[in-house]
Subunit: 459 residues, 2 copies
């Protein structure tokens, strides 16, 4: 008799679990169906990319994007939409950037360059100097001030093509761009030319943030990126004539900080309104392209998560919040401000999800979580297998949600296929045309599915 | 004592298995490293796409591709390179294809169309007729001959966007293209216009094979594809005026069969030379683009498998053969001829791998295998996990290797991400520019790794 009760109990449990599982499967299928057949992410991104365009922090376009984000979220009939004020850096590219390799009197070749974000200008007549090519700081330091003084330092270490994850290849190369000028300046260099962070050989220079650290103003030197083809050419010309001259002219400029905003929208939780789940991307972008992949995609995917819930009439148990962060690219002021705001309001964030790795076919998610939390997440893998988005790993999640890290909140990043990302990243070809509608939509659907499961179970 | 021996035996086994596993991991890593940093697939595809171009069976370009394939394989110092003669169909697009929607006197709009492969021409003055739009054969049959006679049938069933695997969506739609003319002709239609097999809205008409089945010559009617934007426009205009006229003019033509070839190269196995592992793609393509994805990618990836083995100085135990099949697109004559050749030579094929799903980021492989064989394959999954190519499923493998199906030979297809494939498939934009070098190379490396494991263990 006791066994029979136990049996019925377990059968009941099993049936309940199976029923739950069937409900989740159905809900996730509905999310994908809606995203792929009636999705709004692609149309939103078309507008953000083509009607607004590049939106560097502190620019008029960034403010137009803030207004657009607020308006579109308001159209979703969320429970609350508001702006969070944040002061952001303002750096302006200026009206020209120009470089050439000069191999002799009257013999020069233009090469595609762009100023690195945060760099100072050259003198108005430009800079003319010889070039010393290095692979890394070690090689540069070994050369010493004597061989560097008065010259351009040309950092030409390619992203390692043998790595499968291109973000890993990026992290192994980006020090040239971010710290290259500061290191070279201390050795007396007059400027730096940095090989673009791009695995492909092409003619697009890729910008991105650099900073001078604590280098005094008077020691600062201009920094520019050169396209990968340009880098190959310069290196090849240097091997023929190490005394050739390089000419660089750029008139970018740093201004004092200006006010801007994060855009926030939320659906209030029906059971646990104080448990907050946040999903977001960054609204600012670099200025060369229109920032469709970085990070227009993350913005519209995050907005789509809330739109999907509203459209499918899903009433979350927990509060679901979308945040369009300002200033990820050159300051992270928005991410920091959001975390500060959350802390000062004593908010309980149980989960933060970021999409900032391009609008490509999703492969899965990366998590910052405790062992117990990650085990719970792994139990959801099967829901994502039919959608080929079940690659779940532990690792660094995302820049904008980083300031929420507290050892309790689970942080996560969407992980799309990374192969094409650095073809476009921070370059003039990061435009709406480089977006595949279905890949973008699949990312939004995967994110909504994960947020749904977190909302169902909590942590 | 006996237990100790047993223990040592098992420890030995374990150590041996671990050592084997370490060797395989290292070999696979070397394969990926070589493919991604020194690979030849991309350069080969550049040549095949840009210096040869579209290569429809029976065309001069197809013969140039055969010669190129033979030459390049010969350059790899394989043990044997040879051509297999095969007669192929010859259909020629002709010099023009043109269509317009005519809504009134002097009011017409051009729409992008292309002849379907195998179609007959229109009369030289073109065809002018009203249009009846249908979603499927059922709807058409329900209309009956009375409402169809003398008109164009416009098949306008979109590929279902809600499916994750776009090949599945394709298989649910392609009957309109392949059999649409034969079905409509029997009801007295004068021609058929078929919505392109494309999940995107754009202006590219997509060609592809159609056939008239056993329809007598005198009943045959011309068939053309219309771009998805064109289909939307035509449908929308029909909803305003169901009596509008459609004008189609095309001068494609079928010719008698002509001789062509499969190209075959092989490395002789060192231990089991009579066990053959074959890897391949199809050398022919449609004629609108240059067939970079369909199936230039599969060709160069298959060639790269053997080049990788040679370059890495790997001496296979079993015979590894690459086959560049002719005429997959409109006849499958090459695949059939290869299987016939294998049978008549009493060859023992243990494994056949095909790449014919585009040069996109690989997600895994599909297999036709017995339960025992598939279990063995599943034990290799972990080798592919670091490369995000470990999605192993049972299912239909590939057209060209289909004729080798005998219940013993394991058949397999590379499965790249499918989201973008039908953006390019059979259309003028299937060109080299649509190829990402790393994605192509990752596919080749995944294929070489699988072939390596099959060579190591057999079935």
């Amino acid at each position: 008799m006791k066994n029979l009760v136990l049996l019925l109990f377990f059968v009941g449990l099993n049936t309940f679990a199976q029923a739950q599982e069937a409900i989740h499967k159905e809900k996730i299928q509905a999310i994908y169906q809606q995203a792929l057949t009636q999705g709004k992410a692609y149309r939103w991104l078309d507008h953000l990319s083509n009607n607004i365009g590049g939106r560097l922090s502190g620019s008029l376009n960034a403010e137009r994007a803030v207004q657009w984000g607020k308006d579109e979220l308001s159209n979703l009939s969320l429970d609350r939409v508001f702006l969070q004020p944040v002061m952001v850096p303002k750096w302006v590219r200026g009206t020209f950037e120009y470089a050439s390799i000069i191999t002799g009197p009257g013999r020069s070749m233009n090469v595609p360059v762009c100023s690195l974000g945060g760099s100072i200008a050259t003198p108005s007549a430009g800079l003319l100097a010889q070039v010393v090519e290095v692979k890394d700081f070690e090689e540069l330091e070994a050369l010493g001030a004597e061989k560097v003084k008065g010259k351009f330092v040309f950092y030409n270490r390619a992203m390692p093509a043998g790595l499968i994850n291109t973000f890993e290849a990026y992290s192994k190369s980006v020090d040239q761009r971010s710290r290259g000028a500061a290191v070279a300046a201390r050795l007396g260099a007059v400027g730096v030319i940095v090989r673009s962070m791009n695995l492909r050989l092409d003619n697009y220079p890729h910008t991105g943030a650099m900073n001078y650290g604590d280098l005094p103003n008077k020691l600062r030197i201009p920094a520019a990126a050169i396209s990968t083809n340009g880098a190959q050419l310069l290196s090849s010309m240097l091997s023929l004539n190490k005394n050739l001259d390089f000419y660089l002219k750029q008139d970018c400029k740093n201004f004092p900080d200006v006010p801007s905003h994060n855009v926030v929208g939320e659906i209030k939780g029906s059971e646990f309104p104080n448990q907050i789940i946040v999903v977001g991307g960054h609204l600012d972008s670099w200025d060369l392209g229109d920032g469709a992949h970085d990070d227009g995609a993350g913005i519209v995917q995050s907005m789509e998560v809330l739109r999907l819930f509203k459209t499918l009439n899903y009433k979350p148990k927990r509060t679901i919040r979308v945040v369009l962060y300002m200033n990820e690219e050159n300051g992270l002021r928005g991410g920091n401000a959001y975390a500060k705001f959350a802390k000062s309001n004593k908010e309980n964030h149980i989960f933060a999800l970021e999409s900032d790795a391009g609008g490509f076919s999703p492969r899965g998610f990366i998590f910052e979580a405790s062992k117990a939390q990650f085990n719970q997440i792994l139990s959801w893998k099967t829901y994502f297998e039919p959608y080929l988005a079940s690659n779940f790993q532990l690792g660094g999640s995302g820049a904008d949600i980083g300031p929420l890290r507290n050892g309790k909140t689970v942080l996560s990043g969407l992980r799309p296929d990374s192969q094409r990302y650095f073809d476009y990243h921070h370059a003039a070809n990061d435009i709406f045309d480089a977006i595949n509608k279905r890949e973008l939509e699949l990312g939004a659907a995967a994110m909504a599915s994960l947020v749904y499961l977190v909302d169902q179970y909590g942590f």
